[in-house]
């Protein structure tokens, strides 16, 4: 190429879509069928809303949960007092893996990276006094137990489960290959998902029973195309199985929501959300035959990527979160969580929580970004990118579906290879500087100079040993006969592939069984070792390559 020729390329997006230096009016869709007004099929430009309604903004929430349920309850109250419109509760490591805090392998991590929840009383204490009818409650917890706990915690707090709003993450396909492993076989995870969705549709009709969480599967380093293709694949698989149970598509499709990631290639992330709305609408209407417009319109929430945040110069993360949140406000999302500046070190500190909520409030109240829907609609570039992402995501979904049934793909480690390959790719890109990260592979400063906000970021939440003791002494106080009988029913239900799991799980939790005990019975009903560590050893024999 000689110097006076115009460059043909301007690099690529983070997902590898080739870019041109600028875009022209003939780039990207212009037809009314594709780019109908916001709120109309195929919803490229925005979700369904009541006619004549003004844009409503989004649900502002932050990841929360720390220590005991009581302590976490205080944290949730502080967030709501700061103006959060919803909460997202994450369990500590044992809790997200359905292990009890007094399990010998769990004690040192109890409460350190989330709230410890293992019994009905924990859920009651966590939600005590919260206005559950006026806020949304999302959780990053094993869904069947979270729904059961929330269902049981409503009445003691004076709340009818029928009015509860929020969402439960259903991740039967990928959870074992990410950081939320519950040490249950795929078939059992899928049963728990389907049963808990059916339960939630019936008993908590305002709740999003099926939150497809592409955030956590993608935050190891998947790109936008991989993220959404895996997400849509799981939605399709769960939908097919719900249909096979005889549920009409319009009975559950409106209760599906998607929680996506937002990395730093902001136009690509915006286009991804627009493309996802379109793909979801067409899939629901044309493939699954949904006829209710509420079934076609995807409800999308966003969690800004923790992977884009850096341990170096943590203050820079505040800037990253603000940029990502602004982009997502322009994409027209229904809910937004900003990963806080201390994310590389810990679950959010109080000051980081407040800063993240304030960031959202500044965007909403001061920038006027929310005044007009889809402000970027019609941008030659954004429309072109939306089309390209739609095409690539769709092709990727078809490609995986052609490989065979999902059960086999899960068991053969197909998805694990995608996820670990992405981690490796990300790590290499950071190491060799292909992925530029300020403060990490460029514009670095010495560790001695890198002190600003570090004391907060590195402040450590000590394991909550008192809570472990509380659980230990409480165990002995339980009435044993009804407890054992309820656990036996869980075991029996597990052994019977046609049985519903939710009723016995709720009954057992109500009889003061712990989540760890219930999960052990689910394993035992399948002829597996009850203890997850024995199960893990059997599942992954030595010699397995990554």
């Amino acid at each position: 190429m000689t110097d006076h020729e115009a460059p043909a390329s301007a690099g690529t997006t983070a997902a590898g879509i080739p870019l041109r230096p600028f875009y022209r009016p003939d780039d990207g869709s212009r037809d009314q069928d594709t780019l109908a007004d916001p709120g109309t099929y195929p919803f490229t430009r925005g979700r369904l809303r009541p006619p004549d309604a003004r844009p409503r903004g989004w649900i502002q929430r932050e990841l929360s949960g720390e220590g005991s349920p009581r302590r976490s309850n205080q944290q949730l109250r502080a967030l709501l007092a700061d103006g959060a419109l919803g909460v997202d509760v994450i369990g500590d490591n044992p809790t997200v893996s359905a292990l009890d805090p007094d399990h010998p392998m769990c004690v040192p991590s109890v409460g350190t990276t989330g709230v410890s929840l293992c019994r009905k009383q924990d859920f009651i204490e966590l939600l005590a006094g919260l206005p559950l009818d006026r806020m949304t409650l999302s959780h990053s917890l094993p869904p069947a137990f979270a729904l059961a706990g929330q269902y049981l915690a409503g009445p003691p707090n004076g709340i009818d489960p029928k009015v509860m709003r929020g969402s439960a993450i259903q991740a039967p396909i990928y959870s074992e290959d990410c950081s939320y492993s519950t040490f249950l076989p795929f078939a059992m995870r899928m049963r728990l998902s389907l049963d808990s969705i059916v339960f939630s549709l019936r008993e908590m009709p305002r709740f999003h029973a099926f939150l497809e969480d592409t955030y956590y599967i993608s935050d190891g380093g998947l790109n936008a195309v991989e993220e959404m293709s895996l997400g849509l694949l799981e939605i399709r698989e769960v939908c097919r199985r719900l249909l096979a149970r005889g549920l009409p598509v319009d009975s559950f499709a409106p209760r599906i929501a998607i929680l996506v990631n937002c990395r730093m290639d902001l136009f690509e992330e915006i286009a991804k959300i627009r493309a996802t709305r379109r793909l979801f609408a067409r899939m629901m209407r044309e493939e699954f035959g949904a006829s209710d417009p509420r079934s076609w319109s995807a409800n999308i929430a966003v969690h800004t990527s923790g992977l884009t945040l850096t341990a170096a110069q943590p203050a820079n993360n505040i800037v990253r979160g603000a940029l990502q949140a602004m982009a997502m406000a322009m994409a027209g999302v229904q809910g937004l969580e900003i990963s806080t500046f201390d994310e590389p070190f810990r679950t959010p500190s109080a000051i980081a929580h407040q800063l993240a909520i304030r960031t959202q409030q500044v965007i909403q109240a001061e920038t006027n970004i929310g005044a007009v829907e889809d402000p970027l609609g019609g941008s030659y570039y954004v429309e072109s990118l939306t089309d390209e992402l739609e095409c690539r995501i769709d092709a990727a979904v078809r490609q995986i579906e052609e490989l065979g049934d999902v059960d086999t793909l899960v068991e053969s480690g197909y998805f694990r290879r995608i996820l670990t390959g992405a981690m490796d790719r990300h790590s290499s890109a950071v190491q060799n500087g292909e992925l530029r990260i300020v403060g990490v592979n460029e514009h670095t400063i010495s560790p001695e100079a890198d002190r600003f906000l570090r004391d907060i970021a590195e402040e450590r939440f000590e394991p909550d040993y008192a809570h472990v003791e509380r659980i230990r002494s409480w165990r002995a106080s339980r009435r044993d006969a009804p407890l054992q009988a309820s656990l036996e029913r869980v075991r029996d239900a597990s052994a019977d592939p046609a049985a519903d799991l939710m009723a016995p799980i709720i009954a057992a939790l109500d009889a003061d069984a712990t989540i760890g005990e219930i999960t052990s019975c689910l394993r035992e009903g399948q002829g597996l070792p009850g203890d997850p560590f024995e199960y893990a050893a059997r599942r992954l024999p030595a010699g397995t390559q990554p």
């Binding site: 350190t112 850096t310 590389p344 810990r346 394991p463 997850p532 030595a542 990554p546």
Partner: protein, 426 residues
Amino acid sequence: MAISQFLVRQGYEVIYLGRFNTPERLAAVAEQEDADLIGVSVHSWEFLAYADELVARCRDLGIGLVLGGSVLTDRDQADLIARGADAVFGPYAHEAAMLQQIDAIVHRVRAGDAATRPFGPKDAGLPGPLAGRVVIVTGAARGLGRAYTLELCRQGAAVVATDVDEAALEEVVGAARDTPGSVHAQACDITDSDAPRLLLRTALHRYGQLHGLVSNAGLLRSGPILRLDDDDLRLLFDVHVTAAFRLLRVIGGYWRAEAKAGRAIDAAVVLTTSSAGLYGFRAEAAYSAAKAAVAMLARVGADELGRYGATVNAIAPVARTRLTEWLGERTGDPADDPLAAEHIAPVIAWLLGPGARDVTGRVLEAGNGQISVPGTWQPGTPFPLPPLMSPAAADALLPRVLDSATPPAALLTSQIPADASHASFG
């Protein structure tokens, strides 16, 4: 996970056990599989519970223990080292640095040192003065380049070795296997204009960074001026001068970029000149001129790259190699042969190491049992130059000027010396 994939790429066999393993199970699998090292990825603070037991079990087995995780603060890392871990990696640990440490631990374990080694923070250091240094050596397949590569490896360095002879390079990789360092072979023709970029890319891809260059590749096209044709002339200058220049330009550019990004590297270059380039060699005018150019390249390069943290020196080796066949066949143990290439290698290693950070722009002549710094061009005693000097005045003045100066050293010849210091060239 990313580190295990990285290690697999580097040729390690990795057995990945997933989450939630007990120290007991890790140790059992490690023993059954005859592992050299257990690596633990830390996501939160549960490591507090099992760190001590893991250390104890690894000591029992005589194997290494490495922990890594982005949540590990400096304080955690120090704590885990104090408890007995062999290495701990925090956020953004550099792949090259991790690989170096893991290589070193595995090496120590295989040598049987792990069990007897007293655990503790002070002992987590690395063997060899060049541990952690990544160096490109050109012309590494044979002779001096091979000797340099093996010595750098013995001192712990990671070497990207290049040569046109791919098979011979592989032999060097094999010969370095039992050293604490490592060799990555990258065959290429150093006269290709893309070669320096390829080598830099290889080093960064394989080890993540680059600290040193030994530009050693050379060849000989003999012939008096009246007989040396253009092809040979071009080849001589391409290999010795142009290739070295391009390496300095490309690698110097990388060091400059690192320095500008606030990560200045303690870098070092050793170029290869020759006594032919310093004193001249009979009937080798082109070779001598090319090698003289390299000496000056080191001199000026030192000034230019010094501002980015790099030293540039040149070596004039005196050794028995393919370029010096007239020195005769190599015989027996190098220890008994003063002309063996192995004697020069420690000089190169020193120039690349921490002891030579202040040494730059110098030429060293080494081999045949001695080492010296040759005298360089110096301004002579000045005489007044009369304006518009007449032929008669020139006749009178110039002999006096010339007589006042020390005459140049005698040209070298290919007579095998018994004792002469300016004996040969490499």
